[in-house]
């Protein structure tokens, strides 16, 4: 791997190694010592380790017996391995069992919150992608007066910090009687997110107009062109956008905390916050917390494992353009 990515491998790596071990015999400006490269890989390894370790630590803690964690806090392996924490979080353990392993005995209703998270994230994503695609088509493929002005307005909306709009939006939801309803959690995100429009517009602009014109000659209207030509041609970017928006909606905390704190509509992020503050005095139920945190992150991690290439490659694209 090292040899293929080096832009100017004048000598092979083995040759470089041997020259470096006999100092003074080579012209150093032509052959870089491999130590630089080794240091670089070590640094890279350190970055990876720091990135991955907390994930491992979540797992290690979640598989430990909560009551025994303090006896061996430095152990790299689970302390008294048990599935107890997961059973506790998923409601499979009795209160007595839970308390024996350091749980608070309070139930988390994980499945209910999971369902809420899935519902909310799915509805938000569907709305954002569909309405975003409609708007992006109007911006990219149609000519109409005021197009640039409206686009500029949306661009500004992208810059406004969420906290600024969320206080008045909370009041609006209260006036509409939508506090602690799914509608209240979903609505502000549902119709429009500037990011979705920009993301798709950028792609629609790149679609060749020839196909579109051929369809128009055949008498196809814009609606037909949009549904039969543009959307099928854009499944890749649409999927990428959907994944990104789903992750974002899944992770949202502030807004659902404001309007959806009631347990009937509570999503997982909010539930985790509540679960964390439910620990009375003494030590929190770390094993249970980590199990819950891991389970809450699991759907996203699975999505990511399946679609990592799409997600990773979309980042520069969406962030810079």
């Amino acid at each position: 791997m090292t040899t293929t990515t080096d832009p100017a491998p004048i000598t092979s790596t083995t040759a470089t190694t041997s020259t470096a071990t006999t100092p003074g015999t080579t012209k150093r400006r032509r052959v870089r010592p491999p130590t630089g490269k080794i240091i670089a890989w070590v640094a890279m390894g350190a970055f990876m380790l720091i990135t991955l370790f907390p994930f491992y630590w979540m797992l290690r803690t979640a598989l430990s017996n909560g009551a025994a964690l303090a006896t061996d806090p430095g152990s790299l392996l689970p302390v008294e391995f048990t599935w107890g924490a997961f059973e506790r979080v998923l409601g499979l353990a009795t209160t007595a069992e839970a308390q024996a392993q350091g749980g608070s005995g309070a139930s988390l209703n994980f499945w209910g919150y999971l369902l809420n998270s899935v519902l909310v994230a799915t509805i938000i994503t569907a709305g954002q992608v569909f309405f975003g695609a409609l708007a992006a088509y109007a911006f990219a493929r149609l000519r109409w007066p005021g197009r640039n002005a409206v686009f500029f307005l949306f661009l500004i909306a992208l810059m406004v910090p969420p906290i600024f709009t969320q206080l008045p939006n909370f009041l609006l939801m209260r006036d509409l009687g939508l506090i602690n309803t799914y509608a209240g959690i979903v609505l502000p995100f549902f119709f429009m997110t500037p990011f979705a429009i920009f993301f798709l517009r950028q792609f629609f602009l790149g679609i060749s107009s020839e196909v579109e014109e051929a369809a128009r000659l055949d008498g196809a209207g814009h609606l037909r062109i949009f549904f039969r030509i543009i959307l099928p041609m854009s499944t890749g970017p649409l999927a990428t956008l959907a994944i990104l928006q789903y992750i974002q909606a899944w992770n949202e905390y502030f807004w659902p905390l404001l309007v959806g704190s009631d347990s009937s509509v509570r999503v997982l992020t909010v539930a985790l916050g509540v679960f964390r503050s439910q620990t009375p005095q003494g030590t929190p139920d770390w094993a249970g917390l980590m199990a819950a945190a891991l389970l809450a992150a699991l759907p996203i991690l699975l999505l990511f494992i399946v679609f990592s290439r799409k997600i990773v490659n979309s980042i520069g694209f969406s962030g810079i353009k």
Partner: protein, 314 residues
């Protein structure tokens, strides 16, 4: 910015002499189609972006406890900002957080991006690196809250194993803000690095080859080639991270709730506190107007200072 350029006029009617009226009719029909297509987004914009902006600015001039009608108080809320010690403290805490977060994140992300760029194109490595960013703030906050626990957190175990004293990361007034900054740096580092990485890939390879032929070292190439050519990307990344970090909330809410004392009562948490615990919506709105103004000015100044629009490649 490339986002503002227009589409070439692909949808024009063919240029026949008698087509002028047809053309105008086509444009008018397109306008109606466009209005229909954009209606849902426009509705969302009007109701959830524009209207709250107007309402937020209006409320900032009122005294409003949510239960009775807002009372116009003119500039009172803004005057109060000057004497409110808690606000000053929260502004200081936020600035400290932003400073630490930006400095760490930019330097580390640049280092990581250059490492990835020079060492490997592996999607696997890039995936691993961006993973923390995909996990909810709440989850990240909980994990680090546990790992940095004073008594049995693994980090303090490590520090003690090396002969140091345990640190109350979230419980000590001097440590709390740097700790939260570190935690969020961990979450955002990979994402920021990927943004910079995308910028690095836009630099043509032959620039590096030319530099190498001239005998430049890796270090020289970094400072003479990479950094100048990367300036627009860095500026943009800087603005994005800066605007993001001024709005730190989730981590604070889950870990310290503003404590110890007021050490981590950052601006957004203070706004939340005022509005929802003390029902002082008018004053809370005034602070969010100030936050909005500050962010706007920062974005404008930064983009100008760093000449983000132009790169040495042009």
């Amino acid at each position: 910015m490339s986002t503002l350029t227009l589409t070439p006029t692909t949808t024009d009617a063919p240029a026949r002499p008698d087509s002028k009226r047809n053309h105008r009719r086509a444009v008018r029909r397109q306008t109606w189609v466009a209005i229909a297509f954009i209606a849902p987004s426009l509705l969302g914009f009007a109701v959830f972006y524009f209207w709250p902006t107007v309402r937020g600015i209006y409320l900032s001039f009122t005294d409003y406890d949510v239960f009775t009608a807002p009372v116009w108080v003119g500039l009172d809320n803004y005057a109060r900002l000057f004497t409110d010690e808690t606000f000053h403290n929260s502004a200081r805490a936020t600035l400290l957080y932003v400073a630490i977060n930006i400095a760490l994140q930019t330097v580390l992300a640049l280092a990581l991006a250059v490492l990835m760029h020079r060492l490997t194109q592996s999607t696997f490595i890039r995936s691993v690196v961006v993973m923390p960013y995909l996990v909810a703030n709440v989850v990240v906050a909980l994990v680090w809250f546990w790992m940095l626990d004073f008594q049995i957190g693994i980090v303090n175990e490590g520090i003690q194993a090396l002969g140091g004293h345990a640190i109350a990361f979230f419980g000590d007034e001097t440590w709390a803000i740097p700790t939260i900054a570190l935690v969020n740096t961990w979450r955002h580092l990979g994402y920021t690095a990927l943004l910079i990485f995308a910028g690095l890939q836009m630099i043509p390879k032959d620039v590096y080859e030319a530099a190498r032929t001239d005998g430049a070292s890796e270090w020289q190439m970094f400072w003479r080639v990479t950094v100048p050519l990367l300036r627009p990307v860095l500026a943009l990344v800087f603005v994005i991270t800066m605007i993001g970090s001024f709005q730190v909330f989730d981590t604070v809410a889950v870990t310290t709730s503003g404590g110890p004392g007021d050490a981590t009562r950052v601006v957004q948490y203070y706004i939340f506190d005022l509005a929802f615990q003390r029902l002082d919506f008018g004053y809370a709105s005034a602070i969010s107007v100030v936050l909005l103004a500050v962010l706007g000015v920062i974005a404008a100044v930064q983009l100008r200072l760093t000449r983000a629009g132009e790169s040495d490649l042009n």
